[in-house]
């Protein structure tokens, strides 16, 4: 029983991390109808920038203050993500207003290539580490409830808490602030939003910025967990079923989807994996999403799709 709960908690934590990446997808889809395949590359670039800026500033400061170096790193990475958002809007999206979904999807793949190449040219392509002072030691909880207690990684715990705060903040941002309303209006109908005076271009920059910041948080957490390296890009592919399961347009959906996928993956790997040879995590998530799609085509929390002739 303790093992089961341990697995499940582990799954929930991983799920939270997936949600972080998934959030990036949802944000951009909500505001521009673009399915952003570059989210993985954005996570990579953000993490690379953060790792390198803090490394450089740490060297410049003489290794005195890791905290200061990290702050500089985060600010630098934030600036890079802003630059990315601005460039994407200025040079790509603005010229592709009103194009089909497939074209936009492909364009984000192109953006992903460019970001991967640029990021590695500027920041190098080795494996870097991010040290933001996350505790690495595991703790044992619920000792009174189960024999031996439940082993939890403190780092995961903090990461999950951070993700939860971020999500809560984003929900408030989307629902309560003027900019959030503007973003939702743009998502609803470009033309109508423009006609009531919402600047489309500015809104897109803002939403890509927000997605960039989410990518930065995801990059820092993933990066401090497993090092900053090229394979961070594949995190996006792991997060896709989360988005589909939760619904492309729903922020809470990204969270719930992430949790479901995280738990499902871990449980399937532990309890089902041994029978079929292991390594089933990645397709299991997709198959789960697929089954949900068959019954609810819009995902769990997505807006109902209505087809008109």
């Amino acid at each position: 029983m303790a093992f089961f709960i341990e697995t499940m908690l582990g799954g929930l934590m991983t799920g939270m991390l997936y949600s972080l990446v998934a959030l990036g997808f949802v944000l951009i889809f909500k505001a521009s109808g673009v399915f952003n395949f570059a989210q993985g590359a954005m996570v990579l670039v953000a993490a690379l920038a953060m790792a390198r800026f803090s490394e450089w500033s740490n060297a410049a400061l003489g290794g005195d203050s890791l905290f200061l170096a990290n702050v500089i790193g985060i600010i630098g990475a934030g600036a890079v993500m802003f630059l990315v958002a601005w460039a994407v809007e200025r040079f790509v999206l603005r010229k592709l207003v009103n194009q089909e979904g497939a074209t936009l999807l492909m364009v984000t793949l192109g953006i992903a290539y460019v970001l991967e190449g640029l990021g590695q040219t500027f920041f190098g392509s080795e494996i870097y580490s991010i040290d933001v002072g996350m505790p690495k030691d595991p703790v044992i909880m619920f000792e009174g409830l189960f024999e031996g207690g439940v082993l939890i990684n403190k780092e995961d715990f903090i990461a999950a808490a951070l993700a939860a705060v971020l999500v809560a903040g984003l929900t408030v941002f989307f629902q309560k602030t003027a900019i959030g309303r503007a973003l939702r209006a743009v998502a609803d109908d470009h033309q109508a939003a423009q006609s009531v005076g919402i600047p489309l271009n500015k809104t897109w920059v803002i939403v890509w910025c927000v997605a960039g910041l989410v990518a930065l948080v995801a990059g820092i957490i993933w990066g401090s967990k497993m090092g900053v390296q090229f394979s961070l890009v594949t995190v996006a592919l792991r997060a896709l079923p989360v988005v589909i399961l939760g619904g492309l347009t729903s922020v809470p959906g990204a969270i719930v989807g992430g949790l479901i996928i995280g738990v499902g993956e871990k449980l399937s790997e532990v309890y089902l994996g041994p029978f079929v040879g292991g390594g089933i995590e990645i397709w299991f998530a997709y198959v789960m999403a697929l089954i949900v799609l068959l019954f609810r085509p819009q995902g769990l929390f997505g807006e109902k799709i209505i087809n008109r002739v």
């Binding site: 790509v92 492909m106 192109g110 460019v114 640029l118 392509s125 997709y286 697929l290 068959l294 819009q298």
Partner: protein, 358 residues
Amino acid sequence: MFYRENGQFKTSYAADQQIFTIAQDKWFVWGLIAFAALAVPMLADEYMFRAILIPFLVLSLAALGVNLLVGYCGQITLGAGAFMAIGAYAAYNFMVRIDGMPLVLAMLLGGVSAAAFGILFGIPSLRVRGLYLAVATLAAQFLCDWAFLRIGWFTNNSSSGSVSVAKLEMLGWAIDSPTEKYLFCLAFVVVFAFIGKNLTRAAIGRQWMAIRDMDVAAEVIGIRPMFAKLSAFAVSSFFVGVAGALWGFVHLGSWEPAAFSVDRSFQLLFMVIIGGMGSIMGSFFGAAFIVILPIFLNQFLPLLGSLVGVTVSTAGISHAELIIFGSLIIFFLIVEPHGLARLWSIAKQKLRLWPFPH
């Protein structure tokens, strides 16, 4: 001047319904095929065959298959690599497990297996579409990646996980030199291109296009969406599966599941979109672009570097390749969202009116 339809009168319905209604088009295509079959083997060297021509032919066949689904039926797929894998592994198993299996038959059976799986993974298309469907097809991709890696039966329990084909032979003709391999691929591509072209002109292709343009409206006028969508998945997967078998048997010789990874799926979709959705010719343009561009950049960048006196490292080259490749994709999508095939048809239109502008 030369490209005019003036004076070409059709006197029968059959003549009016030909694939190429303009005689110049017909001669051009026949000339192209003759050139590819007769002149190219004499002109090209081994490197050309191995690195450019054979991959180009096989990938254009795959892109053609994807185009039937994405361009003609409007169902976005990111699982094409998986169907290539199924085609290749199924053909391999037919070859290994059945004695005296003819090569071509094994490849076609590989295509049939891919078609069967295509129907299976096409079922979600009845409920979802667009981006949701694209992600749903990724399920096929990851499931196949896993299955061919972990389930020993598919690879005939080979210890290294890679499978290889010993000898290619068709009716006593041993296909081992690059030229023969090229001709073998060319034959497949020509036949399948004609099949594809004719399918899209026939009733079934019209049904696909109706579904693509507006599936609810198509249903209202009496087209069965289930039949249309699943048949598109089946035909497309068949093409892609045969291409996969060719890729494994002829181009690679021995391969691992990584040869058909999700990157391959993306690559095929790129070919279709850059080449032109809903155009047979476009599939070829797209394949040529995607196959040749990385090779060109690979050769060209160090040269450029040495010209300006900078030695570019290999890592630098691969990054620069990524950047240029990505930018070109963005550029093409912005300048010509309808793909290279559109430029082709614009050029033809201009030629017809030449020397007048309108």
